[in-house]
Amino acid sequence: MTMLKLFTYLAGQGIATQRKLFPDLAEGVRGMPMLTDAACESGCNACAEVCPTEAINLFKYDEKGGITLDLGSCINCGYCVDVCPTKTIVNNPTTRVAVKSRSALILTNGPKDKTETQEAIAKIKLPTPKFGARELTKPFKYFNRAVAARVVSTGCSACDMEIGASGNPVFDLERFGVTVVASPRFADALVVTGPVPKGMQPAVTSCYQAMSSPRVVVALGTCAISGGVHKNGYADACGIDQILPVDVYVPGCPPHPWMIIHAFNVAMGKEPPARE
């Protein structure tokens, strides 16, 4: 009888799944920041001052103010957007934020051909993984239809809860062909959340070693990319990037379920990355 009651209840609820793919975030909801064409106020350094993770660096080109914004260190607190007097840094409501290379996470409003811009970008230290190099360098279609993901959590559980939310009826991650599996032997994708402190480094490495090729690594959340607020601590919690070769990066603290689904689609080759 209780099963019948449950069926009747569920049937009466209707379809909860959002049909529109990767919709923009609602008004007032914080996404990642982005840079516009608006010129900086002369001598202003408000954004770099408030940033809690040193994601923003300033430089000058042709007497104009230039900004480099490293989304891989950005915890989307929104303070830079709040203090910017010229709307040079604004909120980006998009849910397409996943990229395939670490350098694609570095935004700048300086012209790409200027040496000052290139020098400013080069100043941002990017890690090289201790263990191996990226295996799948050519465009691949192995996971085009289905990918089995092993999620290893090394963080505060906000990203894990958002992955769980991606699987709920509203977002329905599984309709894209993604399954979350328990054994690394069954897994195609290793999804790492959290900054990977010393205590978890052996476990994550063994998990990767237990997976057979072809395999991809997804760094989910800002902590997994750069350590977020935890970097520079004695626990060596600087992200998965310094240990394993990463194929897809999705920044955010935590990234919204649609951003997570977009990242899986990028890993599967079904969607292009947000930026090259």
Binding site: F7, Y9, V29, P169, K198, A203, Y234
Partner: protein, 495 residues
């Protein structure tokens, strides 16, 4: 709030603890730690009076007589004290490393500032020895650190006889990121980002405890509207996670229809978080000095959301509570008795399900509490079913509280300016009822007004051991349910 402060000798401290922590006393241990390795710093809480006090006691020769044998609640505090400071608690019945694993060097004590005594060597090895259960047919079952589901890492070592669990030893510390040390290294004005990140599912409670501690040191009071908004934010966080915790219990039992519905309805609670703060987890909303401003229209939407959620959740919880299979799997399983909960100083849902009437909102000033504190939900029995009933009861009282706060919130400013510097040699404490239980942030400043010690006591730190005791003589298959019924934090515990 500002704690009272006393400095006393080791003998006097032992005497005071004997008097103040006996069974009939109303005081309880908040946390035990050190400032730089040269002394013990103990936070004592008096819920009845709504006050707390810091007892500081210098130690000689880097060792003192352990308190665990007399007061079980101290046992993990004394182990963490050794990990962070190298102070040896002599006579501790299970003296092992707690937070730092084999990857760290042998004599590495990250928070210690005073030099170690000459020729001091660590009395224990970094390699962890599990308690061995001997007997014919007894085998060990290791689970973790990486678990089957999408959940934080921790290691569970079961000693089993057939399907029955004879002993469970829980080893945590995999998520130790050194947050307490970071909080003394970043400028204090930006520390709230790090304080939130200890356990971001508890971001709002952590930010609130942090703000309360800093404001009590700086002797700043936030405007009324900010106090209301802080309490609303805390309750929204409680609501969102309680819904998913009950849903998680349904997943583990196998009632997937109910758990999927809970997951969907949790989104409505997260939407309230979005409306209030722009973030589903209420991140970067509360900071020392106040909160970010919220428009009246959004508060109206949140209230409407509460009314709708109450209607939506009623049939869902009803189906859960009358499901015969669920009731049989939850009743009389994982029982934590009242006396055990008292002895180990359990907090939060686990304690209230065992009959202990302790809800921080009733006692300690924080936000708009205790004025707007809802009546505590207390159950008897201490089994899984009691804990789920407490959670469901708290969902209803939380919805009531949010509506009441929105009905009475005044207009006005939401922020005051913080001073440029903090007072020197000052103490501040923030105590909050997070959704898991009593959360404490304790801050101490030095001669220059910088933070010299930041101690965080997550509610999970008190509660983890209860799981290993409650699971004895239950089946292995009961473990996921017992674990989920507590729904403790690994990251918050590890720091």
């Amino acid at each position: 709030m500002q704690p009272d402060y006393t400095e006393l000798s080791q003998q006097d401290m032992a005497k005071q603890l004997k008097e103040r922590l006996n069974k009939s006393s109303s005081e309880r241990l908040g946390l035990l730690t050190s400032i730089d390795g040269g002394q013990l710093a103990l936070l004592m809480l008096n819920p009845v009076k709504g006050t707390c006090s810091v007892l500081e006691s210098p130690i000689e020769n880097n060792t003192y007589k352990a308190y665990t044998s007399n007061f079980a609640q101290f046992h993990w505090f004394e182990r963490a004290l050794f990990d962070m400071f190298g102070i040896v608690a002599e006579g501790h019945p299970r003296f092992k490393h707690l937070l730092l694993h084999e990857q760290y060097e042998k004599d590495f004590y990250p928070l210690r500032k005073v030099p170690l005594p000459e020729n001091f060597k660590s009395p224990i090895e970094r390699t962890y020895q599990f308690l061995e259960v001997k007997g014919e047919g007894v085998y060990e079952l290791p689970v973790g650190p990486i678990h089957a589901g999408v959940i934080e890492p921790g290691h569970f070592r079961f000693s089993c006889f057939g399907e029955t669990i004879v002993n469970l030893e829980i080893r945590l510390g995999f998520l130790h990121r050194g947050v307490e040390k970071r909080l003394t290294e970043v400028p204090w004005q930006k520390a709230h980002f790090v304080a939130e990140a200890v356990a971001t599912d508890t971001a709002c409670a952590n930010a609130l405890a942090h703000a309360e501690a800093i404001e009590s040191i700086a002797q700043v009071e936030v405007p009324e509207r900010a106090k209301f908004l802080r309490s609303i934010a805390l309750e929204i966080e409680r609501l969102a996670v309680h819904i998913i915790d009950i849903g998680g219990m349904c997943t583990d039992i196998g009632l997937l229809g109910i758990s999927a519905t809970a997951g969907r309805l949790r989104g409505n609670a997260l939407r309230m978080g979005d409306l209030l703060s722009g973030s589903r987890f209420l991140r970067a909303f509360i900071m020392p000095g106040g909160v970010r401003q919220v428009e009246e229209a959004r508060l109206g939407e949140i209230k409407a959301g509460c009314q709708q959620l109450r209607k939506d959740l009623k049939p869902v919880w009803a189906m859960f509570l009358e499901n015969q299979m669920a009731i049989e799997r939850m009743t009389d399983v994982g029982v934590i008795s009242y006396s055990l909960a008292n002895e180990f100083g359990l907090v939060g849902v686990g304690a209230r399900a065992a009959g202990i009437n302790y809800d921080v909102r009733q006692y300690f000033p924080c936000g708009k509490y205790p004025e707007y504190a809802p009546p505590p939900v207390v159950e008897k029995g201490g089994d899984i079913f009691a804990r789920e009933r407490v959670r469901i009861g708290e969902v209803w009282t939380t919805l009531d509280t949010i509506e009441k706060l929105i009905d009475n919130i005044p207009h006005g400013d939401v922020k005051v300016e913080m001073p440029r510097e903090l007072p020197k040699m000052a103490w501040g404490v923030g105590i909050v009822e997070a959704f898991r239980g009593e959360l404490i942030h304790m801050i101490s400043t030095d001669m220059n007004g910088n933070i010299r010690r930041y101690a965080i006591k997550d509610p999970s730190f008190d509660n983890w051991t209860a799981i290993s005791i409650g699971i004895r003589n239950q089946l292995i298959a009961d473990f996921p349910l017992v674990n989920k019924s507590f729904a403790l934090s690994y990251g918050g515990n590890d720091g």
